[in-house]
């Protein structure tokens, strides 16, 4: 599992292992300041990075 959140420091304290910083608190995988097409690309790139994290070995809670 990869956790996308803006509270990465809290995530490390509750024992999540693969943690990724999302955008803002109110829209972790959103970027509403961008026009729609650009936001969609931005989101695809973010999730692509998330998929790489799923393939990365870790031993301790890690913020990517």
């Amino acid at each position: 599992m990869v956790l996308i959140t803006c509270l990465a420091n809290v995530a490390t304290q509750v024992g999540a292992y693969r943690i990724m910083s999302g955008n803002k608190f109110h829209y972790p995988v959103g970027n509403p300041d961008l026009p729609a097409a650009e936001e969609a690309n931005w989101r695809a790139a973010l999730l692509s990075a998330a998929l790489k994290i799923l393939q990365t070995p870790v031993d301790v809670p890690t913020v990517f």
Binding site: M1, V2, L3, I4, T5, L7, A11, Q13, V14, G15, Y17, G22, F25, H26, Y27, P28, V29, G30, P32, A40, R43, A44, L46, L47, S48, A50, L51, L54, Q55, T56, P57, V58, D59
Partner: protein, 349 residues
């Protein structure tokens, strides 16, 4: 005359074994099984014992209804003392004992006691001021355990505070939990006192300790993502418009799954976020900003991974107790695992 209410499961009430674990809630106006030993040990007092019996499975499948029935009995019978079990190492029974004893204590304030083996999962449900006698793991020690219950019952009925403390120290389980107590001064005064001490280099004791979480084993990385099925989960409260299953907007008590089969993205007006902990307007304007169906679908098509699971899972965090969330998380994980899902993207607000 003193009234005692005693909770037993189907086995200790002599109704049957595992096959009778579905026994419905039953009230008996007499002592039953170990309750009879208890009554004999307290025979120099004027005691009336009544018993409630509930099957171990029945309790867990109908907990709310059982507690409601218990509430009725409490109102009508009005006992001076409540005893649950003892349950020894029996897990479902131990949980039921801990929950009924805590329920009674929290709402009626009468003295309550139970008996558990230290590894009984019921030890995680013991409420404040519930006396939990430490027992052995085997019910073979019932006679000596019931004797101890009777001794404690006597102290509780006599309200012997000093001897109760000593009894607790010697015979009860040590389950440290944090509760509200009265300090000697308001927070403002204590804060300045502590700061002045800290600045002087004098010793002080922080009132809130840092508590570490027990780590679980690290899940292995996915070796071959191109073969993997992935699913999305969120605590951000995203539900179909109209919230058909009535997900709470804070402290979710359930999780739900909703279909994203054949969807390329989530459209505004079809989904809404039920959550008091963040400003939901941006997610409502485009739900992909919380459950990224559009991005995941395009990555699936490009072959980055094999399959996007047909459902996403949702609950509501914000104000939730970690223990409840852990329970829901375990449930979601079990379902995903059974569906052949290999990895999860979890979005949190």
């Amino acid at each position: 005359m003193v009234k005692i209410l005693h909770y037993l499961n189907q086995f200790f009430a002599g109704i049957g074994g595992e096959e009778k674990a579905g026994q419905e809630f039953l009230f008996l106006a007499k002592a039953v099984g170990p309750g009879m030993l208890l009554r004999d040990l307290l025979k120099n007092r004027d005691i009336e014992i009544a018993t409630i019996v509930c099957g171990d499975n029945y309790f867990h499948e109908h907990e709310e209804a059982v507690l409601a029935s218990l509430a009725e009995v409490m109102t009508q019978f009005a006992p001076d003392l409540f005893i649950a079990g003892p349950a020894f190492h029996a897990g479902r029974y131990g949980l039921a004992c801990a929950k009924t004893a805590s329920f009674v204590r929290e709402r009626w304030g009468v003295p309550v006691l139970t008996g558990l083996y230290e590894e009984n999962p019921g030890t995680r449900e013991i409420g404040r001021h519930v006396f939990a006698i430490q027992t052995g793991s085997s019910a073979a020690s019932m006679p000596s355990t019931i004797k101890r219950c009777a001794d404690l019952a006597a102290l509780l009925l006599d309200r012997d505070a000093g001897r109760l403390e000593a009894f607790k120290e010697e015979f009860c389980l040590k389950i440290p939990r944090r509760f509200t107590v009265q300090a000697s001064a308001p927070d403002s005064e204590r804060a300045v006192d502590m700061l002045l001490a800290k600045l002087r280099g004098a010793a002080f004791e922080s009132e809130i300790p840092r508590i570490a979480v027990v780590p679980h084993p690290v899940p292995a990385a996915i070796q071959d993502l191109s073969q993997a099925t992935l699913a999305m989960v969120t605590e951000g409260g995203l539900v179909p418009m109209g919230n058909p299953d009535r997900l709470e907007s804070s402290r979710g008590t359930k999780y739900f799954k909703y279909s994203i089969k054949e969807r390329d993205d989530l459209k505004p007006g079809e989904f809404e976020a039920m959550h008091t902990g963040y400003d939901t307007s941006t997610v409502n304007a485009d739900p992909d900003r919380l459950i990224p169906v559009d991005a995941m679908r395009s990555l699936e098509r490009a072959g980055h991974f094999a399959r996007l699971h047909d459902y996403y899972y949702v609950t509501t965090g914000t104000g939730a107790m970690p223990a409840k969330m852990q329970e829901l998380g375990a449930g979601i994980a079990e379902e995903l695992s059974a569906s052949g899902v290999n990895g999860v993207v979890l979005t949190a607000t």
